[in-house]
Amino acid sequence: MSTGEERILTYAEAIREGLRQEMQRDESVVLMGEDIGAYGGAFKVTKGLLEEFGPERVRDTPISEIAIVGAAIGAAIMGLRPVAEIMYMDFLPIATEQLVIQAAKMRFSSGGKLRIPLVVRTQYSLGRAHAAQHSNFFPAWYMNVPGLKVVTPSTPYDAKGLIIGSIRDDNPVLFVECAVLYYGVKGPVPEEPYEIPLGVADVKREGSDVTIVAVSRMVHEALKAAEELEKKGISAEVIDPRTLNPLDRQTIVESVKKTGRAVVAADDCKTGGVTAELAATIVEGAFDYLDAPIVRVASPDMPIPFSPPLENRYMRWAKDIVEAVEGMV
């Protein structure tokens, strides 16, 4: 990805840099959300941007999720490229009608007359002991919405390239960040702006015995699992779809055709979740190549408990993936 002296950034810094560079490049990029200005955002992702770009471009709003997304939509159809921030994914259902029933239908219901270059950024806080109303991750709800794109970056490199790609995209994009990754992962990030187009998966690690398709935080668990498995003589390929809609089905299917086995892993609940779509994709595209049933590593179908040991037990980790693979080889 990069050569020579690599500059290492956190995931949060990478997103901030992507936002900053797009704001420098394009005057029509405007941020709006709760406490994103002087406060710097609940997770400090927008820290310093108010100082650099001023209050016309970094707009603090009242606590009004409907109006944040609604106003961003109105600005987008008038030609701005707004980036709205919804502090927690748990608050997004309040504005979901705006995103799903308004923004996602506008291109279509206008017979192609409207363009909606809108990004809604949000994050999920699973793993931070924030309990059942501040930890949710439910990207599958939004994958089910034609007209909307859904992006779930896992690394600093991807986060920067994908936020730039999302801002430049002329469609409404839901950009779901992962809070434990903000300052929990670091990685090489080129200084110059670069765009990762939406809909292209990334092979995070090559392998030949099993394919692990993982999303957001679970990509890191999958990579740890792959190392464990290597010690046991099992070669795992790790694929990060990076965007859930459009979903790069071909990369996933091709990998499974090669390995003959698949584990799919994501932080949302199992029933009706992302892993269901990933598994279905594999069944549709590579059924004849499967040497074992697909295993889904997903969150249990229950609300998220507060108590840290319980939350820890609730979450899925590298060991769950290792176990799943061991059960199929």
Partner: protein
């Protein structure tokens, strides 16, 4: 105890003479009359097409009785205004200059329709080049979108104003509260145009608007609240022009409650038996069309014969629109994939 001061500006009926002093010409008044007729005859024809000829499917919410609002607003913001419409939007589309044949073809679901037959009745007022930005079929949801469109104007320093249309029922949604508050917070050039037609389906506004008047709510958001006669096109024009001037001066949003009446049922198939006896008849006396006709004739601007000619011309145009719609084709299904994403 703290006290909330509520000051409402009431704009009653406006005379022709006053209208002329506000900058309208006699030609403008005649064009506005023609538009009122276009909106009325269009809806009359649509009602027939649904009920007696069964040539259109789905549903339609007729604008009958409320025409003065769309026509007065459109004239007041002509050249610099945008609108966000809602489910009762045929009149908004026509008032913004979308040709009747495109609106009719949309109702017929044809590719020559304003949005290619993909929107239908609840999405006819969408034509950005004519200032019609969007029409939400979800009650209230257009309100914050209108605010956001106004934000874009302000941000780019463009001279313009956005009118967000909605009715009394929408004034009870969360989107109304958030949208008005945000618009006031940012002092956006937006006019919240409440078409209080007395009913939200079968819910009377006199019950659902718990503080009595939609316009009172403006005080809660620190913006001017205005009540205008929504059945007098000149009252509508005056109220909208004042609000637009305020917005253009950078003084932020206005909430205008246009008092009007939904002369028909909620949708074409609704017989509206829940309405008290005599109510429709009372409001028919305030029908915006005869009222304006009378004013124009009394002011000596035109004659009954001339107005009759106008009505006949418009009726012919609408018949042509029906023919155009009927003869148009339906979009090929595979073309739909082209408009799911940009």
């Amino acid at each position: 105890m703290a006290k909330l001061e509520i000051e409402i500006e009431e704009i009653g009926e406006v005379s022709v003479q006053e209208a002329l002093s506000l900058g309208l010409t006699e030609g403008d008044l005649l064009r506005m009359y023609r538009k009122l007729v276009e909106l009325r005859l269009f809806e009359n024809r649509v009602e027939q097409l649904y009920l007696y000829e069964a040539r259109i499917q789905g549903t339609a919410h007729l604008y009958t009785g409320e025409e003065a609002i769309a026509v007065g607003v459109a004239r007041a913001i002509e050249g610099f205004g945008y609108i966000v419409s809602h489910h009762r939007g045929h009149g908004h589309a026509l008032a913004m200059g979308i040709p009747p044949k495109e609106v009719m073809a949309e109702l017929f679901g044809k590719e020559t329709g304003v949005v290619k037959g993909l929107g239908g009745s609840m999405h006819v007022a969408i034509d950005p080049k004519r200032g019609a930005l969007w029409a939400s079929a979800i009650v209230g949801s257009g309100i914050p979108i209108a605010a956001g469109a106004a934000l874009a104007l302000r941000y780019r320093g463009e001279r313009g104003v956005v009118v967000g249309f909605f009715s009394d029922g929408a004034a009870n949604t969360g989107a109304f509260h958030e949208g008005l508050n945000l618009a006031s917070f940012w002092k956006l050039p937006v006019i919240f145009a409440c078409e209080n037609n007395q009913w939200g389906m079968s819910m009377p506004a006199r019950k659902s608007i718990t503080c009595g008047r939609v316009a009172y709510r403006a005080a809660a958001y620190g913006m001017p609240g205005v009540i205008a006669d929504g059945n007098d096109v000149l009252s509508v024009y005056k109220a909208t022009k004042e609000a637009a001037d305020r917005a253009l001066r950078g003084e932020g949003p206005t909430l205008i409650e246009f008092i009007t009446y939904r002369l028909k049922g909620h949708g074409v198939y609704d017989k509206a038996t829940y309405r008290p006896k005599g109510e429709v008849e009372e409001w028919e006396k305030k029908d915006p069309l005869p009222r304006f006709e009378q004013k124009l004739i009394e002011a000596g601007i035109t004659t009954e014969d001339r107005l009759k000619e106008v009505r006949e011309e418009v009726a012919k145009e609408i018949e042509e629109a029906v023919k155009f719609a009927e003869e148009s084709e339906v979009l090929e299904f595979d073309k739909l994939w082209e408009v799911v994403y940009a």
